[in-house]
């Protein structure tokens, strides 16, 4: 394929290229029917070496909505990896069958190895705790669609900010836009890693680290929630002490701005009370819908289909 291009990291696309991608996603949102034959005759391979319901179904739905077809595997045991085949060999074979590939792998960097050997575009659909670029594109498109812009925000990120790859990718991606201020809300055990705060200091991007969500709610333009996982704590006592800080409920939302949308990469456990699901500011299920639009736009872009 001419101009073969892959997506490994959300920063692989420039801000201008992302604008084009999001414009295309917007067109798809307005007229999905108009795109229903764009990928006639094309095949997407979903190579998922570890289970993932939502991301895999989102990719497959995206290709089916574009008129294409899908093949693939949903876990490593049903692939030739179980026989010891390398990622490099697998992608060479898949390149003979499909036109584009979405790969999830528990080993970090596996999609990059695949991309280096592929003759078709490869999309990183999540590689261990490393990158999950289509989630970041989903988050950016959601924010852009809800607010009509990606700049001049005070953004709250709450929960497990240490291990959450979606949070790290989103901070990196948003740090390219103007007028961004971050407020990180987490227990000190789960603060954002130093390399992220170092990067923000180098770029002179303001940030603040706080423990209590209530303190800063009135300042936020939107809030990105993540799950605080019990297994991350050294002792049960700390977990019990801190977990309720991060349950977003009606009481805490009463402190928020009228248009402060709530985002969450899902799955949610208990960190957002279900009583908020009908609040017009609860955007996490709309986020899933935007994930579909952005994956459709990405498939079209990487296949150079106008």
């Amino acid at each position: 394929m001419e101009n073969l291009r892959h997506l490994m990291n959300p920063l692989d696309f420039s801000v201008e290229e992302l604008e084009d991608l999001f414009d295309l996603a917007g067109e798809i949102e307005r007229d999905m029917e108009g795109f229903s034959h764009k990928c006639d005759g094309k095949i997407l391979a979903t190579c998922f070496y570890e289970p993932s319901t939502r991301t895999r179904l989102s990719f497959e739905t995206a290709m089916l909505r574009l008129g294409g077809k899908c093949l693939g595997f949903a876990d490593a045991t049903s692939s030739s990896a179980a026989k010891g085949e390398s990622v490099a060999d697998t992608i060479r074979v898949i390149s003979c069958f499909a036109d584009i590939c979405a790969m999830r792998h528990p080993k970090e960097g596996a999609p990059m190895v695949a991309a280096s050997r592929a003759t078709i575009p490869v999309i990183n659909a999540g590689d261990g705790g490393h990158q999950h670029p289509t989630q970041t594109l989903t988050d950016l498109l959601t924010i852009r669609s809800l607010y009509g812009k990606l700049s001049n925000f005070t953004i709250g990120l709450c929960g497990d900010l240490k291990f959450g790859r979606t949070v790290h990718s989103l901070i990196n991606a948003l740090s390219r836009y103007e007028g961004i201020r971050f407020i990180f809300i987490s227990p000190k055990e789960l603060r954002v890693p130093d390399y992220i705060t170092e990067m923000l200091r180098q770029k002179n991007i303001p940030y603040e680290e706080v423990i209590k969500l209530e303190e800063i709610m009135p300042q936020l333009d939107f809030l990105y929630m993540t799950r605080v996982q019990k297994e991350r704590f050294f002792n049960e006592e700390d977990y019990i002490r801190l977990r309720n800080f991060y349950i977003l409920d009606k009481e805490k939302m009463a402190l928020a701005k009228e248009k402060m949308f709530i985002l969450h990469p899902l799955p949610r456990v208990n960190e957002i009370s279900v009583e908020l699901d009908d609040d017009p500011r609860a955007a996490y299920f709309r986020q899933v819908q935007y994930g579909l639009y952005v994956r459709m736009a990405l498939i079209l872009t990487l296949l150079h289909i106008q």
Partner: protein, 147 residues
């Protein structure tokens, strides 16, 4: 006083931190060369107290010296042609190093993929931080002996 003869063409690597010459010998693949190599260990040095020196008789284009800067960028590289020093080469940290250090992240694809080269890129020049090309894990211990 130990006397080692002059070389006609090749390199003299001077000011090597004492004890590191064998590491450099291995990384430059000097054991594979069919030519004269002199390893001088613990030579007296005014500036360093003790130092190692390597003299290598070879075609000056035959060695990739990038790895030297990673191991110790204070090494002086004298390039010899016709028995004379024609160049004193300064060492800069290479943008990328391949096959020198190994990623220690057990979650990295390089821990299981067959014959995948170990590649690191220079992520932060000021702090001499290299990161794995595949998983971005930091490698900054300055220990090039791990491969």
């Amino acid at each position: 006083m130990l006397n080692i003869g002059k070389i006609e063409e090749g390199f003299v690597l001077d000011h090597i931190q004492a004890g590191k010459s064998m590491q450099i010998y291995r990384h430059l693949g000097l054991d594979k060369l069919d030519s004269t190599v002199a390893i001088i260990k613990n030579a007296k040095s005014q500036a360093m107290g003790k130092k190692d020196i390597l003299k290598v008789e070879c075609d000056i284009d035959s060695l990739n010296l990038d790895v030297l800067a990673y191991i110790d960028h204070n090494i002086t590289v004298n390039v010899i042609k016709d028995g004379e020093i024609i160049e004193k080469r300064s060492l800069e940290l290479p943008k990328q190093i391949t096959g020198v250090i190994r990623c220690h992240n057990p979650r990295c694809i390089s821990s299981i993929e067959q014959e995948l080269p170990q590649i690191f890129y220079l992520a932060d020049e000021a702090n001499e931080i290299y990161r794995c090309r595949y998983c971005d894990e930091k490698y900054s211990e300055g220990d090039a002996s791990s491969l």
